[in-house]
Symmetry: C2
Subunit: 341 residues, 2 copies
DNA sequence: GCACGATGCCAATACGTATTAGCTAATACG
DNA sequence: CGTATTAGCTAATACGTATTGGCATCGTGC
């Protein structure tokens, strides 16, 4: 046993294929490199393809990435993957990335700091990152230097982005509740520096203002964008004296709406009889609850898909102008948690 | 402008650090390579570290991976990331992987086939993969050859794995319902070749048998492991003639239980008054529903964490014996969806 | 003063691929 | 027939890091 060099357990390389096909490694690379305009005779091409097949050759993307300075990987960072909305965004990214031959590295920030996560992505030589749910504050240039970035629902002068019509979302919710005749409204949502969330809130209040209505501060509940946040918000609202108690509440995030609904049901407050609730996102959970949640549908998958297309176009075509595109439309989905005042 | 070679936009390499510190690239690698027993004088070491800091040097993990034949990445593949149980498993993996310096590439199989996903992971030179929710059928050696693999809840002779006490889970559910005095029970769960799910079912039926009870086939509903699966199952059960209709149902997956609960509430069947429901998993959703779901808690994060530890031990220490470990205990969490018959 | 073992550092090479310059043989053109 | 041109292929190099064998240098012991 003179040499273990040709250990068959190791995956085949272009060198192995070349040896078997009786050509040089460079030729193998030309044939298998996908470059269709490479000058290779049909006969050689076929020999190489056959040899590769027989050896079960798989290109080593790590090596390829090293020389091409491209990893064909893109990172997606969100605050919390357990929020189904963000998972939907990631799913949208996945779909178009897969078609374009990119792998996506999803990650959230529950276990590590954003900086650390970005550094890890960078060290992996990701070609670009898509960020959703991070406010301008978190987007210090710090770790982002030298990366292609696409933002979701966060306008920026430095980086291109995609957005949904967040103002419209807030408006739709308000107009729906007003049309039902509600006069004592409430708002529950995160005190976030995330632009999209702020705009939902702004749209809601703009519609109220248009209707000549205002909202006393005790009916404006700032809570974390979670189920327990919603629980807390609604508990506080229900604890108000009857004359101030709202008859309807807009929750800027579906998870908050789910918590609010639960608080009502637990307290014996009929929904929508005594309290109407409107969410925003239209995550799958909305149709699992009883009654089903009235909410404003935000096309999360489509947001992710567009972000991915925008990023990949930049990557594939170095000088592509990242044209922003219109905000994606949202629409009201009336289900079971809203009714007349 | 003779050469753009030294473009400062490009990240610094060990060569750059070496030049600045006045040493060779090899020395830089020795110092920064983390190898603490490298023979380098304190003075040189400090010069290198300083230079690296000044240049903002970050090791290129792609290049490192190429030479070390290690990527410090592990893949996790599950059937469906939108099932929070699997996300919890992934989260557990993330946590211990991060500590050990590994990055994890989570992925599900909704957008691509398992084979394609595994091939993609392989091409990225992942050091190993953790699989959860795939039956022996899907685990043909096909794409797995030459990979370190750890399985979750799927015993195998070829690969090590971690498991929860799935039989115990089914038993606990059955015993709880029996203790409440229920005599007409039902089962709803996927017709899966996934071992863990089969064992939940087996444990349930074993406990029934111990109590001298059997289950007629019309009360055994095989449905997909989703909310709509649970909806369909419970609708069918509620459509049975009163004498055959169950008063309690064990759902092998929490999502199914959520669907079942919804079907009851929609049909005006009081829970737990007329129908008790027990789930299994204890995903966060269980506490969002009203009433809150009685369920069997399966330590998903811990499963993921153990799987990761098992895999990483094998990776770091080539000859480590993968000792299986006991199945993780489960426990019944009594909440609001179960009551006396 | 010399042999000897440490110590500190570096040159060279490898990892698996892409890419380019260039070589040979064949064809086109005058 | 001689010269351009082209097609088809290969040798060589680069990507950024880890690793190893070996070269100086320096004490140390005799």
């Amino acid at each position: 046993m003179p040499t273990r060099r040709s250990d068959s357990a190791r995956p085949a390389t272009t060198h192995d294929v070349a040896r078997r096909a009786g050509v040089s490694q460079a030729t193998v690379s030309l044939v298998l490199g996908g470059n269709p305009r490479a000058r290779v005779s049909a006969q050689t091409r076929e020999r190489v393809v056959r040899a590769a097949g027989e050896l079960g050759y798989r290109p080593n993307l790590v090596a390829r990435g090293l020389v091409q300075r491209k990893s064909y990987a893109i990172g997606v960072m969100v605050p919390d993957l357990s929020n189904p909305f963000f998972l939907d965004v990631v799913t949208g990214v996945q779909r178009v990335a897969a078609e374009a031959g990119y792998v996506v590295l999803p990650g959230d920030v529950r276990e590590v700091s954003p900086q650390r996560h970005l550094e890890a992505l960078q060290a992996r030589q990701v070609d670009g990152v898509i960020l959703d749910g991070f406010g301008a504050l978190a987007l210090q240039e710090h770790a982002l230097s030298g990366m292609k970035v696409v933002l979701v629902d966060e306008p920026s002068e430095r980086w291109p982005g995609v957005a949904s019509d967040a103002i419209g979302a807030g408006r739709l919710a308000a107009e729906h509740l007003l049309a039902l005749g509600h006069t004592r409204l409430a708002f529950a949502g995160p005190a976030s520096d995330v632009h999209g969330l702020r705009m939902r809130e702004r749209g809601f209040f703009a519609a109220l203002r248009d209707a000549g209505m205002t909202l006393p501060s005790e009916r404006l509940r700032r809570v974390p964008p979670t189920v327990s946040g919603g629980l807390a918000a609604m508990k506080a609202l229900l604890a108000l004296p009857p004359a101030q108690r709202p008859t309807a509440c807009f929750c800027a995030v579906d998870l908050v709406a789910a918590g609010a609904l639960k608080a009502c049901l637990t307290a014996g407050v009929a929904v929508p009889g005594m309290m109407s609730i409107v969410g925003c996102d239209d995550v799958e959970l909305a149709r699992v609850l009883t009654p089903e949640l009235t909410t404003v549908r935000v096309p999360a998958r489509e947001l992710g898909a567009r972000a991915a297309r925008l990023l990949i176009k930049q990557l594939d075509d170095e000088a592509a102008a990242p044209k922003p595109g219109k905000p994606l439309p949202v629409r009201l989905i009336v289900r079971g948690t809203t009714g007349p005042a």
